[in-house]
Symmetry: C2
């Protein structure tokens, strides 16, 4: 077995300076699978949706190699719904509506054949549920990664600390890293966060790229300077999915390979923002991804010979 | 002749979360020479100071190869004085005091032996004065670079447009690039700014690195993730000085070499912020600079072989 994904599958309504959609599929688990599916066709998804959810979207996930037997479909209930609005500075957004619906009572249960994954990524959900998933595993995966957000730092601090002690990699943005560590300097923040458990840390900086920390090493990955960011929703989950998918494909946890994973994750995220929702991720060819990675290679390339 | 520098030489009072100084030497021309002096000892400085200015600082500038015969010393007058306060987010600062003093009547006059420089950098002063300097040149330099700021966009728009039509390279930060172009996307901003004249554009992003634009090419230079930024005053001018000094030393205006210049400029700026004012720049060894550049090489290094 390969990559176990636990996260939300939902409907989103999104407004950006470039347009508006009233109802599009989203959710962290959904974006992660869309992205990771470019590297592995051996994914298991644990999530919950209402009776209203798109069967086409679930079929699409199956078509790219996702076992959806861990997706609970709640009869007579509604899917998780989020609505948000972005302004010109796409690093910030206003949440307009959060209807938890089925997510309010989500109890992630791993089917028996999901309990020995090689890789595990826990999307941004209640740390108590993240712990519950890890406790159901029968074997320790090669790598356990989690995402989280400011909300859980505010209301679920103790469980967040506990789950950080159980994982190998935390993926957060710069603002979240600062809140979690109470340090402004990202170098100091990284040190404090890794003291809580995760030996690897990725800090995403939106249009400014991402940092990967491990031991005394740091890798600074660029973001592509884009003409337009059409819709940033899901870019973080797409990054995480591309990163984990690349690791699941290559099965190499060296720092050198983790850096490659960060570049592939960044490349996938740069596609995600080109259209609303996960649409752009559905139509990607291997060639397009390789061409995008080539741009990442060129944009930071320089050649200095030191004395 | 090599590098002509036009800019302020001044006193600063600075407060940061790490400490406070009441009176330290500063000014764009001063920082540029301190930084460029690591690469060339053939600099000419045009500036103005009051009778109160430090003769030791002027002697130091001479000792690193600066011809200061273009620095006017106004008897009975006071030097330009700036005072500012930084908070934890060092990308922003509050200006507390701006006493123009001698700067109010500054009339940059090039001594005859300053009129054929190979390279020219015009620090952030009134665009009318930048134009006046260019008009005194007897030969076109290999490269003319300027810095500017939001203030001149607000009060000297026409002259700023005019000087942009006369130069090869503009060096600004991201906020300034957005205000100048009225575009949020830095890619679109770069396109609009280069349509005004400069064929090269550097956009500095503080702790997020810098972008170099030329033709249809972009280079994304990292900044080092630092434990502490002690005092960011002068970091932008130090970047510009390191960049121009490196070009003056190598005399190679290819895009490949400009990228190296951006890395050397970034390395010098990373030293500048370690102490108050230009102090750290006075004590740098060649070996320290090379070691710092090595860190820049390693931090963005990755190795992907595409199919």
């Amino acid at each position: 077995m390969s990559l176990l994904v636990v996260g939300t599958v939902a409907f989103d309504a999104i407004e950006t300076p470039f347009g508006k959609v009233d109802r599009i599929t989203g959710g962290s688990g959904n974006y992660i699978c869309h992205s990771a599916g470019n590297f592995t066709h051996d994914m298991q998804l644990v999530s919950v949706v209402g009776e209203d959810f798109s069967t086409d979207e679930l079929k699409y996930l199956q078509s790219i190699g996702t076992d959806i037997s861990g997706v609970q479909i709640k009869k007579g209930e509604k899917s998780f719904f989020w609505s948000g609005k972005y302004h010109m500075d796409m690093n910030r957004r206003d949440t307009l509506v959060t209807d938890l619906n089925v997510l309010a009572t989500f109890d992630p249960v791993l089917p028996d054949n999901f309990k020995k994954p090689e890789f595990l990524i826990l999307g941004n959900i209640d740390p108590a549920l993240q712990i519950k998933v890890i406790e159901q595993l029968e074997e320790r995966p090669k790598l356990v990664a989690i995402d989280t957000m400011n909300f859980w730092m505010d209301i679920a601090w103790d469980n967040l600390q506990k789950v950080l002690g159980m994982v190998d990699l935390l993926i957060v943005n710069d603002e979240e890293a600062r809140q979690l560590s109470k340090e402004h300097s990202l170098v100091k923040a990284a040190e404090k966060i890794r003291a809580l458990g995760p030996k690897f840390l990725i800090i995403k900086k939106g249009e400014h790229g991402a940092l990967l920390f491990h031991g005394n090493r740091v890798f600074f990955a660029p973001a592509l300077p884009l003409e337009d960011v059409f819709d940033p929703t899901g870019a973080g989950d797409t990054f995480a999915g591309g990163f984990m998918g690349y690791l699941a494909k290559t099965k190499d946890l060296s720092f050198e390979n983790m850096k490659r994973g960060v570049i592939y994750g960044s490349a996938l995220a740069s596609f995600c923002v080109e259209k609303f929702g996960p649409e752009r991720l559905k139509e990607l060819s291997h060639k397009e991804i390789e061409e995008r990675v080539q741009i990442f290679i060129e944009i930071v390339d320089f050649d200095i010979i030191l004395d």
